[in-house]
Symmetry: C2
């Protein structure tokens, strides 16, 4: 991967996600990011009207990928039980250092506590994902009502935990999924 001499808007956005995950939302500003990229903020204000527009660009990229990257992976799997199991596997591989997949998730969630638009985007994405889990449960003949929310909350909570410890999410997630699946009619 050769670094181009010129930066694109997406290069800035990617640097933004790196800074967000490593340093937090206070690092999402023009001059600190420019230092990271070894340019001046002249470049920043060429690509973006202002800092708020930069935030919007990050948010747009994340939101368009956050749901579909998961749904696309699961949609390849035919039966709903395997889909639920796959969700457990995915949750154990947070693949941070990414922006598109599941990575940077906890950082964005944290960012949402101090940024209105981020909070709304997170709410939309969560809604889509919970609805997706809900559909899987319905296909299994299970009452989706407390379980979809529980599954997703466990996913979020485990992801948060693994930012601070090195433990594996997989056993917990698998255990819960099997516990739920064991209640499905067959």
């Amino acid at each position: 991967m050769v670094k181009s001499p010129q930066l694109s808007a997406e290069d800035w956005v990617l640097a933004g996600f790196r800074a967000l995950t490593h340093k937090g939302p206070h690092a999402l500003r023009a001059e600190p990011l420019a230092r990271d990229l070894k340019v001046t903020k002249g470049s920043f204000y060429w690509h973006f009207k202002d800092v708020a527009a930069f935030h919007d660009a990050m948010l747009t990229l994340w939101e368009t990928r956050a749901f579909h990257d998961i749904a696309d992976a699961l949609n390849r799997i035919p039966d709903p039980a395997s889909r639920l199991r796959m969700l457990a596997e995915i949750s154990a591989t947070p693949s941070d250092e990414q922006y598109g997949g599941i990575g940077a998730e906890t950082a964005i969630r944290a960012w949402g506590r101090s940024h209105q638009g981020v909070a709304e985007a997170v709410r939309r994405v969560d809604g889509q994902r919970i609805a997706y889990v809900r559909r899987i449960l319905e296909d299994l003949g299970l009452a989706p009502d407390p379980w979809a929310r529980l599954v997703y909350a466990a996913y979020v909570g485990l992801e948060d935990q693994s930012t601070r410890d090195a433990a594996d999410n997989l056993p917990a997630m698998r255990g819960m999924v099997e516990m739920i699946l064991s209640q499905a009619p067959r």
Copy 2:
């Protein structure tokens, strides 16, 4: 509750928690807080050496309460099954606007993403709480190993969700607890 003419260090810390939950970590600074309290930062620097010391004061207060407030409530309950059920009830009443109880939890967790000391305090508190849940499960004759982590992750995840939607955490938490309890030997 009459407002004293003089402010104490704890008044500043409480204002800090309010600002943290409502506006995020960037609001934890001397001059903005002084405006909120309708004084000047002269008062702030009387009570605290600098902003970092103020952060430490917030953190110390939170950490001393975060674990014991939960453990004390549960320790009154004799049998472990009821204790686990009570944990579910507690999780449904986040009681934000507090600093001592469980409130401000998600805000502090988010803060931890951009503050080393906060992250360490959260890790310590999480460790204590998970160990506590683990003990309850052991008393129930259950293998604590994936379940303690799962219960706590669900708790964290549900709490995070309820900062963005108005849904009730109680059914999901109850459902999980009963599902786990149904596996206990009797």
